[in-house]
């Protein structure tokens, strides 16, 4: 068929390139748009792995809502003022090293604890309904708790936006 590993590789490259742009681009709005493209790339990867529902969530929530929030916030602020903030060289070097070490540490832990799950094969034919049954029967309590978490977030958002900074 027309789909080869080429599609997978180019999808991963697509996501990786825009991830790099997010980190290195100096213009925050461009970075936010790259973030959007990265999310879309992730959606494609999930799709290729056979997880249709995850693709939907990825596009609807991450690309359709979270990235919009980022773009929005960056447009609302006065970006000319923020351009003057340049982190000192030593600090960014230190932060970079810590971030890289942390990433490798987390990856090592994940890889050594979950060797069974690291199959490179695609998911077995899991229909959406099997997944949903699991969500609403086995993982019922976390599902219900997630809504409480979102309620908490709503309250927090309202309080943040109501806070007045005294002139």
């Amino acid at each position: 068929m027309l789909d080869t590993n080429l599609t997978d590789v180019s999808l991963c490259l697509f996501a990786a390139v825009f991830a790099v742009v997010v980190v290195f681009n100096k213009n925050p709005v461009v970075a936010a748009f790259s973030l959007l493209l990265m999310f879309i790339g992730f959606g494609g990867i999930y799709f290729r792995l056979g997880s249709v529902f995850l693709t939907t969530i990825q596009i609807l929530v991450y690309a359709g809502a979270i990235a919009i929030l980022f773009v929005f916030v960056l447009m609302l602020m006065n970006l000319e003022e923020t351009k003057t903030f340049i982190p000192t060289k030593n600090f960014s070097l230190f932060a970079g090293i810590v971030a890289i070490l942390a990433m490798f540490g987390i990856l090592t832990i994940i890889i050594f604890n979950n060797t069974d799950y690291l199959a490179t094969d695609k998911l077995p034919e899991v229909s959406m309904n099997t997944l949903f049954t699991k969500l609403f029967e086995t993982y019922l309590v976390p599902f219900e708790l997630s809504t409480l978490l979102l309620l908490g977030a709503t309250v927090a958002v309202v309080f943040i936006s109501k806070k007045r900074i005294p002139q």
Partner: protein, 119 residues
């Protein structure tokens, strides 16, 4: 699963826009006056710049949309799996609880006047 049809479709859609702009770039006349390149502000000289601070209401709208969107996305799998489920009363109870919390959250936002645009 195959992404190929999607790729073909997007490439063709993208090229429609590109080709149209290219054609108009070739055929269109070039502007002769410098004034055309100024910021449009109804013929006046522009006052201030575009990168000013905008109302926080927009931010609030976006983030509240995000929160409610996540909650409603949670309901998609619920609605799709309800009819084939063997434990309908439990599913209903889950749903009612979920909706209850969602509506409480909504009422909180409403009563905190975060949704009011007129001041």
């Amino acid at each position: 699963m195959s992404l190929f049809p999607f790729v073909v479709f997007s490439v063709i859609s993208l090229s429609i826009g590109l080709v149209l702009i290219l054609i108009s770039n070739i055929l269109g006349t070039k502007p002769k006056t410098k004034r055309l390149h100024d910021i449009y502000e109804s013929g006046m000289d522009p006052v201030g710049s575009a990168t000013k601070r905008y109302d926080i209401k927009f931010y609030l709208t976006a983030i509240l949309f995000l929160l409610f969107d996540v909650e409603i996305v949670f309901l998609f799998p619920w609605a799709l799996s309800y009819q084939s489920s063997s434990i309908k009363p439990l599913m209903l109870a889950e749903f009612v609880f979920f909706m209850f919390v969602l509506i409480v959250g909504y009422l909180f936002v409403l009563l905190s006047k975060s949704l009011d645009w007129e001041e």
